[in-house]
């Protein structure tokens, strides 16, 4: 292989890698902003592919098909990618502050960032036929298939490196910077291929490298500017630092409470910018779930399984019972466990529950753990996100509940967060009965003969396989929970069941507004 061909292959590889990595990052941001992963991922991928298609077509109309044009395209690619990250974040802040409905915001957040994906793909798409043409005209012996192959291998490398290595180690801002470096590398190599000195391009590449260097240097500060503007409404050096973690699965923000931080160090936990709990209010949720469920059950459980709840707050409440012998806690994301065991705010809040000898933490998917384990439990506590998309509906599915039923002892119970309502446009909105009724249909189908719903503020469903009519023993409750929690421990009416449909992995239904 000649040195020229070798350079050429590196250019194709790095350009493809950069454009695919850019697509992955924007898809990730759109997923985070919209909290609708499958739509965000496939929409971004489809716009990227559309852009590539139109780019290939657009190539037919290019008059000057020389290296100089290719360098110009690479430079346009750099500027588009460079501007995109600022524009997408700025647009998100603008939308977050706007007085629009939840649906309007969702549509805008899903669609507007696609403009940048489209532009990037348009430029990248022009390049593949360009390379094919240049290779043919130079008779290097390379074929269209080889060019496609290199382009695909570059895309694969992007998906592997971006998710598994770059994002967890460098965060999203610096991963964007790595994309910019790859584009600049292609530009530089193309300049070398022109065979004559193109000073203007070299100066431009130098300028772009300087911009990227500044981006690297200020990445941490830029991220704080964005996060503080998003969570606090403005940026100030006086505000506490927001702890941001990019894990392979999600973006995690630990946001200190501005008013109480200096005194009691309270905080909020956000996952993909969705509030998981507020330090000062979590007590109602976790006390209701743990003490409410144990109170409804006839006996205190000994062997317990927690699905989700990696922040250690359910475990904290459970460890208050002497009867508890062992707790298995299943969490998908190791970053959450790291926070719960090392971050001083979390350790203070969960009373270091995950370090208790009775608690065993397992890093695994809750669904797969349930399916594969042979252990049985007296109680299963399920603390997972609401099923408002296809991907989350599996955690409320017939299959999931069937596995739960199998892993429960005959007198055992399960309790989970009942998706009765949610916050939208700053107001509490209830899901329609047709959606919530499906949960009861699914539970019945999976063999849970009794269900009891409680909690007008923080809602839960308590379910057992044996037929019974549970009721709260208020005398015992007084000793266990705070007054705030007591008001939440009242029965709520069950929705109408459809009797015909139920949610399954094989035929998903999810919550609709």
């Amino acid at each position: 292989m000649s040195a020229r061909a070798f350079f050429f292959f590196i250019i194709i590889f790095s350009t493809s890698m950069a454009s695919m990595a850019f697509e992955i990052l924007i898809a990730r941001l759109v997923s985070e902003f919209s909290y609708n992963y499958i739509v965000a991922q496939s929409l971004t991928l489809s716009i990227f592919i559309l852009g590539m298609g139109i780019g290939s077509y657009f190539f037919n109309f290019l008059k000057n098909k020389s290296f100089t044009t290719l360098i110009k395209i690479e430079l346009y690619l750099f500027f588009t990618a460079f501007v995109s990250i600022y524009a997408v974040y700025a647009f998100h802040l603008f939308v977050a502050k706007a007085d629009w409905t939840h649906n309007t915001k969702l549509v805008l957040l899903l669609s507007v960032p696609q403009l940048f994906v489209f532009l990037t793909a348009l430029l990248a798409g022009t390049e593949i036929p360009f390379f094919a043409e240049l290779v043919n005209s130079r008779k290097s012996g390379s074929s269209f298939g080889l060019i496609l192959a290199l382009s695909y291998v570059g895309s694969f490398a992007a998906s592997l490196v971006t998710v598994s290595w770059l994002l967890p180690n460098f965060g999203i801002f610096n991963t964007f910077n790595c994309v910019l470096i790859l584009i600049l590398l292609s530009c530089y190599l193309l300049c070398l291929q022109t065979g004559k000195s193109e000073n203007i391009f070299l100066v431009l590449i130098l300028g772009c490298s300087l911009l990227t260097g500044l981006n690297f240097y200020f990445a941490g500060r830029l991220q704080q500017i964005y996060l503080q503007n998003y969570y606090y409404g403005q940026f100030s050096d006086q505000f506490p630092t927001i702890d941001h973690t990019s894990s392979p699965y999600q973006e995690i923000d630990v946001v200190p409470d501005l008013f109480t931080y200096n005194r009691s160090k309270e905080y909020y936990l956000y996952i993909d910018q969705k509030l998981q709990y507020a330090g000062r209010n979590e007590i109602v949720y976790h006390e209701s779930m743990v003490h409410g469920a144990i109170n409804l059950n006839s006996g205190e459980p000994q062997k317990i399984l927690i699905l989700g709840g990696g922040e250690g707050l359910i475990a904290r409440e459970l460890l208050k019972y002497d009867s508890v012998h062992s707790i298995d806690l299943i969490e998908l994301d190791r970053s959450i466990i790291d926070l719960a065991t090392t971050n001083e705010l979390f350790v203070k809040q969960n009373k270091n529950s995950l370090s208790d000898a009775r608690v065993s933490v397992h890093i695994d998917d809750a669904y797969m753990w349930l399916k594969n384990t042979r252990d049985t439990y007296d109680a299963i506590f399920i603390d997972l996100p609401h099923p408002f998309s296809v991907e989350l509906s599996r955690l409320y599915s017939f299959e999931f509940y069937s596995f739960v039923a199998k892993r429960l002892s005959p007198d055992g119970f399960m309790i989970f967060d009942y998706p009765l309502n949610h916050l939208a446009d700053g107001q509490l909105k209830y899901y329609p009965e047709t959606s919530t009724g499906l949960i009861y249909d699914t539970l019945s189908q999976a063999g849970f003969n009794s269900h009891f719903s409680f909690g007008p503020k923080e809602s839960f469903i308590f379910a057992t396989r044996k037929t019974q009519k549970p009721a709260f023993d208020e005398e015992k409750l007084f000793k266990r929970v705070s007054n705030m929690t007591l008001s939440n421990l009242t029965e709520i009416e069950e929705p109408k069941k459809s009797g015909t449909h139920f949610n399954s992995v094989f035929r998903p239904y999810f919550l609709t507004e």
């Binding site: 298609g53 269209f144 592997l160 392979p248 594969n372 094989f506």
Partner: protein, 220 residues
Amino acid sequence: MITSRRSAHLLLFLTGASNLIYELCLAQISSSFFGGTLYYYTLNIGIFILFMGIGSLIADKVEELHLTRFIILTELILFLIATTMPFYVVFSEKFLSHGLFHLLLWTTNMALGLLSGFELPLFNRIFKIHSSTGDILFFDYIGMFCGSLAFSFLILPRLGVFSTLWVAAFINGLVLIYFLVRRRFGSIWITGSMLLPAACVTLLGYGSSLLDFLRQYYVS
């Protein structure tokens, strides 16, 4: 082989759409079984694309004389994998260890990626009389774009992931028939191949009973 410009574009569009549906279905199946949607989507798409690349390289080695036979074989294998996948995924998940089941899904991903990768360079060679490389890429990409939109907004939410695979397999069945007819294969071949899309329609028609059976088997 005589191929009109319009039908060439239509075939590129259809295969582009079915390839992307396979890609997303595999990502969805992995994330359904193992959790972590963002992680498995990115990784599955990456591996699928890598094997498309390897497929493109292999396709370059196919001799001019055997292009259509190769395409026919590719479409047939794609069809068979996609139609049987729901069954072998559910059954093997029962019997295989966690690691082996992972391996099976990755192998399926690689196989579908490889076969899908054959299509574009082969079509490029078959259709180059009618269309430029830019045109060929354009219709393939437009097909992928429509396939992706249809997957997330239309097919997956209504049919679930396994029936979505059968929709994509139906497309491969149609492409297969087109090439058999154009290549003037014998009537037995053509009639036989008609059974393939018919099988998909039957699978889709009886989808709910079949899925009930699979579901009960899966949780038993």
